[in-house]
Structures are given as structure tokens and as C-alpha cells.
Amino acid sequence: MPQSLLRVRGLRTEFRSPRGSWFPVVNGVDLRLEAGETLAVVGESGCGKSMLAYSIMRLVPRPLGRPAGGEVLLGGRDLLQLSEREMRAVRGRDVSMIFQEPMTSLNPLMPVGEQVSESIREHESCTSGEAARRALELLDLVGIPEPAKRFGQYPHHLSGGMRQRVMIAIALACRPKVLIADEPTTALDVTIQAQVLALLDRLKREMGMGIILITHDLGVVAEWAQRVMVMYAGRKVEEASAEEFFGGPAHPYSRALLASVPSPELVLADGDHELTEIAGTVPPLDRLPQGCAFAGRCPRVQDRCGEEQPVLRPFGSEGRMVACLRADSPRAGEIGR
């Protein structure tokens, strides 16, 4: 197997509870990303998707959270072992990130062009004129009309979609190998969503980078991702190619996620058309029950689910993984019906 672009092994990040003890929000997550690939990370809010992203970027807010082990291998280096100075050189140059809220992710007091060129000047020694010229090109590249005019404008002059394009320009300024997009379209109108995602997809292919697309929108996943990774309560519970995932998710949580999608072309392959909400909520991460964290909400829970922590194991085809005691055949969805 060739060396992956990005490889994460056993990544663990902890937060401090109000009572002072540390609990994991990212719990032993493995991940690999190939060049030119979009890996979707899905799950409900609070399942640790965003913290996974922040952990890779080493931007976990302190002193609330802290890294607690694992490896993030990029180009033969473990990012978690770098000094803060070395890590700064990686951020924005090798790994970039865009965020959910374009309205608040840009500095309101700085012209957008300058925010793009800042990224270039931070990593490459070039004149401010050169950086500005390249920033202008980038604004053009991400499809901002009249980039020369927009260059000197402030974020509040731009719509949400335009701001997100500026964010993409910032992130891609130094042609990173990996782009982490944390819910990049959640705050945007549906029509704008498609445009932004299409833009990301085009630039991914042009630049040959890998994208980690964090989202809770399975429609987005179906359209743009090659592989899917499902997270629950800080753990990876399933990984599959997009095709297999939508063909028949193995983990009951994945099934529940998929069942809650309203769009008609995305209903389960086995003909379950009923739109369901997932009953209950993600358990508080600082008070996880023993055993499987999903047990309390799982329609097919058994006694041993409450005792035994399910480990991630190969499931079916090459590269497919699931962490469920009861997923014992590719058509696990039929059990208990």
C-alpha cells in the first residue's frame, strides 16, 4: 500500500470537565487521506468531528483542552512532535482549514485582499506587491467577480457565500496538500452550498490535494466524498467508501443518520422510506456509559453492548471498518427487523 498523504493514528484529545477531571473528546481515532481524495467525516454535533480537525491543526483551545497522544503523519513528519514554530510553518502551507461561519471567520477590520495576502507573506518571502498580485489571482480563482474591486473591501461588504470563497482563497493561498473543511457550507444558502462545494472539488483536482470534509449533511457526502468516516462520542465507529456506505451502512448509528435524511434519493437501499429522528441525544462526553456509547439510543441493543466496548474491526471489503458488536454481516441492517 502506497504511503498515504496524511495518516492519523490513535489520535486522542482531552477536555477538562467543570469538575476538573480530563475526558477524551477525540478518542483513539485513526484516519488516512490520499491525494485527490475527499474524506467525509460525519456525525451529529458534539461527536468530536470539529475537535478532530482542530487536533490535526494543533489548534485545540487551551487551557480547556489538551492533546493526549497519537500521531499525525504528514510528509514523513509527526505534526504532534513539531515545535510550535515548526507547526506554524505547516499551518496554512501544508495543511489549511476553512470554517463553518464565514460571517465571523474573517477579521472585520481588515480588507479581504490583505487577509488573503497575509497568508502568502507569512509563508513565503515575497514583496507585498507580489503577495497582493497573487492574492488577487486567488480571489479570481475562487470565483469572486471583480476581484480588483473586492480586494480592498471589508468582509461586511460581502455576502456569506463570497466570504466563504475568500476563506477558501486564504486556505489555498500556499497550495496546501491537505484542506480541512469544517462544515464549510452549513451557514450558506442551498444554492450557494452547491457552488462552494463544486469550487472545492474543482480546486482539489487542479491542485491534487486531499480534503477532509467535516459535515453532518449526508446529501453533501453523497455528492462530493469518496470515502466516509462516521464518528460518535469521540470515536470512529465506521469507515467505508461512499458507495458502500450509502449502499448499506453497517453501524446502527450510521443507519440512523441515514434514515434521518429527508431527501428522497438518499433513502436506504433496502427500501426504508420512513424519515426518522434519532431518538435521544449524544451522551455527555465526560460521563460516557460503560460499553458502547450508542447503546442507550441503539434500536438493536443487547445486554453485552452495555458491558463491552466495541473495537473497530475490518468489515466486508478492503478498508471497510465498523465498531459494533452486532454488525456481523454486510446486511446487518436487517437484523432485528
Binding site: 499551518r91 496554512g92 502551507r93 472585520p108 497575509e118
Partner: protein, 333 residues
Amino acid sequence: MWQARLSYLLRRFAHGLPIVLAIVVVNFFLVRLAPGDAATVLAGEAGAATAQYMEQIRAQFGLDQPLYVQFLSYMKNILVFDMGYSFRHGRTVASLIFERLWATLLLMGTAMAISTGIGVLLGALAARYDRKPLGFAIVLFAIVSYATPLFWVGLMLIIVFALNLGWFPTSGIATIGADTGGLGHVLDVAHHLVLPALTLSFFYMALYTRLMRASMLETLRMDFVTTARAKGVAEGRVVRRHVLRNAILPVLTMAGVQVSGMLGGSVIVESVFGWPGLGLLAFESLAARDLNLLLGIFFLSSLLVVATNALIDLAYTLVDPRIELAGRSKRND
């Protein structure tokens, strides 16, 4: 662009106009609230209170006219800054006030620069070293300063730095009789200015320190700061380029709000240090029961607040591009 700014400034002044008008009205009635009418006050001031003299004064000042006539003539006078006559000083109120105005402006301007400058610096440091000894020390200093009465700060500074150490003069704006001329005079005034300006800054410095610290801590948690970090910008530059400028905005707003408070403080500071500005004039007029003069000062200081607020709003538009010069949309946080 400057035309837009000018028209913005004019509009801000226009917005303050009704307030100025209201102050004139309030002033007019305040004089009539005082025990005895203006004639008895004036007669008392002049030291002659025969009934005939009183009538003469009433006629002279139109006090025998109906109220609305008096009001109209009062309004007319105010428009040309005719605020009456101070018998105690034997001069018009307007000439007295304008003579003293610049000293107050100098004192307030200096105090404002010191308090915002040091307040922003200390607040930023306190946020940077939050939960560390330095941050704690700054917060402690701010909390104590915030509770200290201005006049007492002034007196303590006088006791320590003027009376005991002899570094600074105890009072006045310039050395009496010293004919240093030119630069020497400027230095002399600056020397006299140090203690009063520090005193007046003290409370506001504490206020801005607390505000700046809170604002910094809040801004540090904002998304665009994470964006800057994700770009790989070094922490020092993140703070300087992205956090500071955003965090200063609330301090600037507060500085505008506090102009009126600072004017009040200058009355106290000027009377502690014998600084010959409007505040000392107000203090003197209190002792002399010179109501006309006091109300004149009240009127002018209100005008000053309206004017400074407009200027600060304009300054705000320079810092915050979200404030459109055309509309009146304020930051909505």
C-alpha cells in the same frame, strides 16, 4: 472621502442639537428654581439690596417681563454665547469661560490620552497573562484604582511627589513670575500638568484596563482569530494585527461615553491642583454663589460633550469600516 466625513460630523452635531436646546431650557428654569429671583442674587452679589435697586435690576434684566418673553430673550442671548454677567468677577460669563476653556481642554486631552493609552496596554497585558501573576497584579491594581476617589488620589500625589519629594509643583498651571518664554513656558506648563493629568487619568485608566482585558479575552476566542492561527500567523502577530484592533473598539466607545464623566472629574482635579480651567472656575463660582457663572459653565460643558461625542464617533468610523458614513448603523454587539 473627507466630504463624507464632514457631512457625517455635521449630522452628528445636528443630532446633538435638541440636547443642547434642552440644556438651554433646563438652565433657564434652574435659575428660577433658586431661592429668590435673579435680582436678589444679583443684588446680593452687588452688595446693595434696596427695594428700588432691586426693581431697577428687574427692569434692566427684563425680570418684570412675562416668562415666555424672558425665555425668548434668554434663548436669543445663548445663541450668541451671551451667558450673562458675573458680578463677582466683574466680567461677562462668556469671556471668563472662554479664557479658562483651553486649560481644561489641555488637562482633559492629556488625561484621555494617558488613560486610554495605559489602559489599553495594561488591559492587553492582563489578558495576555490571564491567570498568571502579572495578569492578577494588573487586575488587582485596576480594581483598587477603580474604587479610589479622584480628589484623594490628587492629594496623595501632592503629599508624596510635591510636598515630600518636591518633584512637581503643588498647584497652578505655570510658575508665577517666571518669564521663560517659548519652549521654556511649554515645559513649565507640562511640568505643572503631570500630577493633575495623572490624577484625572487614574480612575479611567482602571476602567479602560478592565474593559480592554475583557474585550481582549473575548476577541481571542473569536473565529477570525482561529482563522489567523490556522493561516500559520505567529501568535504575536495574531495579537497585534487581529486581536488588538478589534478589542480596542469597546474602549473607544467607552472613552466617548466617559467624556462627560471626565468633565465632572476635572472640576475636582482642578480645584485640588488650582488648575485654572473651567472646573476651578466652577469651584470658585460655588464658593461665591455665582449662579450665572455656574450655569454658563454647565451649558458650555454640555456643549463640549456633544461636540466630543461627535468627534469620537467620527474617529470610530476611521477604525471600524462597518460604520457607514452614510447611515447610522452602529456595531451591533
